[in-house]
């Protein structure tokens, strides 16, 4: 009977969406021809060996956080007016409003066997939030909630983040597994001075100036980890995130 139930449930799965909260897709630069830089937008470039999706969060201003709180309160007031029996109020987390997801298929260029992605975003300070699928959270999402990096993405510039090493990339040795036995993600900053190649040639490309980002709550309710330490940028004392440049807690 249990087997039958499982089989029927499996049949039903394609009909059902498991997404709880999704965020907007980023605007990607794709195509083949020359690239026109919009001076009002900031651009983020990163490389991965295997096509995938990542999430970036722009750190909101105090005014934006206040607006979010106000919207949440208003939504809660509306909810209360319906005189609910239980407590099933839902409102997207703050991060959802200020995050964008990259899109697996929207490749900008391919260089040295790696896929280069280029996204156009609102200028600001961005956090490499996690390996998250836009339609998540599913069982394949990881938030770098216990330590990651942040960087400035300036208008009219391409900020080069470098390469994100996926846990199962095969071309460079894997770092040690995390305490749950899972291989971590590694951010490999670009070699400087930058030598923009391929379609990046001629664009105002600058290496991302990376800073340690402190722990963040698991607002999307996914599996957590942290980026592997980055020499000179991101270190840890047990679970404390340390910025080696300032030898102080980040944030």
């Amino acid at each position: 009977m249990r087997l039958l139930q499982a089989a029927l449930a499996l049949l039903l799965l394609p009909l059902i969406c498991k997404s709880a909260v999704a965020v907007d897709y980023a605007e990607h630069v794709t195509g083949n021809g020359p690239v026109t830089i919009d001076p009002t937008k900031a651009y983020i470039a990163f490389r991965i060996l295997q096509k995938s999706e990542f999430r970036f969060e722009r750190l909101p201003s105090n005014e934006e956080i206040a607006q979010y709180d106000q919207d949440r309160r208003a939504a809660f007031d509306d909810y209360k007016k319906k005189k609910p029996k239980g407590n099933d109020f839902e409102f997207d987390p703050l991060e959802a409003r200020f995050s964008v997801n990259t899109q697996i298929g929207k490749i900008f260029d391919k260089q040295d066997g790696q896929y280069v992605y280029l996204i156009a975003v609102k200028p600001g300070t961005y956090v490499l939030y996690g390996h998250m699928w836009q339609e998540g959270p599913g069982d394949m999402d990881t938030c770098f909630c216990m330590g990651t990096v942040k960087f400035e993405a300036a208008a009219g510039k391409v900020t080069d983040l470098g390469r994100i090493r996926m846990p199962d990339d095969w071309d460079v040795p894997a770092p040690p597994a995390n305490p749950a036995g899972i291989l971590p993600f590694v951010l490999i900053p670009p070699a400087t001075p930058l030598r923009p190649a391929g379609r990046l040639q001629g664009l105002p490309v600058e290496p991302a100036v990376l800073h340690a980002m402190d722990k963040m709550p698991n607002s999307f309710g996914v599996v957590i980890d942290r980026l592997f330490p980055i020499p000179g940028v991101l270190a840890y004392e047990r679970d404390k995130v340390v910025d080696p440049k300032s030898t102080a807690r980040s944030r």
Binding site: A9, I16, D92, P93
Partner: protein, 191 residues
């Protein structure tokens, strides 16, 4: 982002569950100073059997040398914050033609979603909770030790099908903290 709202509403009505991603506030409200002496913990003594060892990846507890009860409780509450309200949940899809075009579609799909969640969502959330507790407590330097399921269940919860009442959750976290900060177990730590 409007479609999330629709989806959220439908899911909320159908499943009567919350997904728990509420705000930036992560851990539980501050607990007033509690003495470990007032916290009763179960005996962790047992005769190890091979089938228990096989299940140690599911049933374990944490311990760290040189840790106070207050530190352990704060660490466990923080890690519980990372491991609670996990969002992997199978829900009806409001854009599904079945839901949109058929009067009985929503009912059919709601039952199906609930069923599929029980089959796939619950085990997945249970597993993700274990992972997040291991990641978080592991980075904090705690070691893990295995337990038989029956003892584990007496002071742990898996949060997967239903969440424990907040008072029960905090009581169990206190029991875990007393054990985590108590004498070092005479067993081999798990890798």
């Amino acid at each position: 982002m409007t479609r999330f709202g629709t989806q959220g509403r439908i899911a909320a009505v159908v499943l009567l569950t919350i997904t728990g991603h509420a705000s930036r506030a992560q851990s539980a409200p501050p607990t007033p100073a509690i003495s470990a002496d007032t916290v009763a913990v179960p005996s962790l003594a047992f005769d190890e059997q091979p089938e228990m060892v096989k299940a140690y990846d599911k049933y374990f507890y944490f311990h760290r040398d040189g840790t106070t009860f207050a530190e352990a409780l704060s660490d466990l509450q923080e890690c519980d914050g990372y491991a609670r309200g996990l969002a992997y949940r199978i829900k009806p899809d409001p854009d599904d033609p079945l839901v949109k075009n058929s009067p009985i579609g929503p009912v059919f799909e709601a039952i199906g979603a609930r069923w599929a969640d029980k089959m796939f969502g619950v085990p997945e959330r249970r597993k993700a909770r274990r992972t997040n507790m291991r990641v978080c407590m592991g980075y904090k330097g705690y070691q893990r030790y295995g337990l038989p399921q029956a003892i584990w269940q007496s002071f742990n919860f898996d949060d997967a099908a239903t969440a424990p009442a907040e008072a029960d959750r905090q009581k169990m976290l206190m029991q875990q903290a007393k054990i985590a900060s108590g004498p070092r177990p005479l067993k081999t730590e798990l890798k």
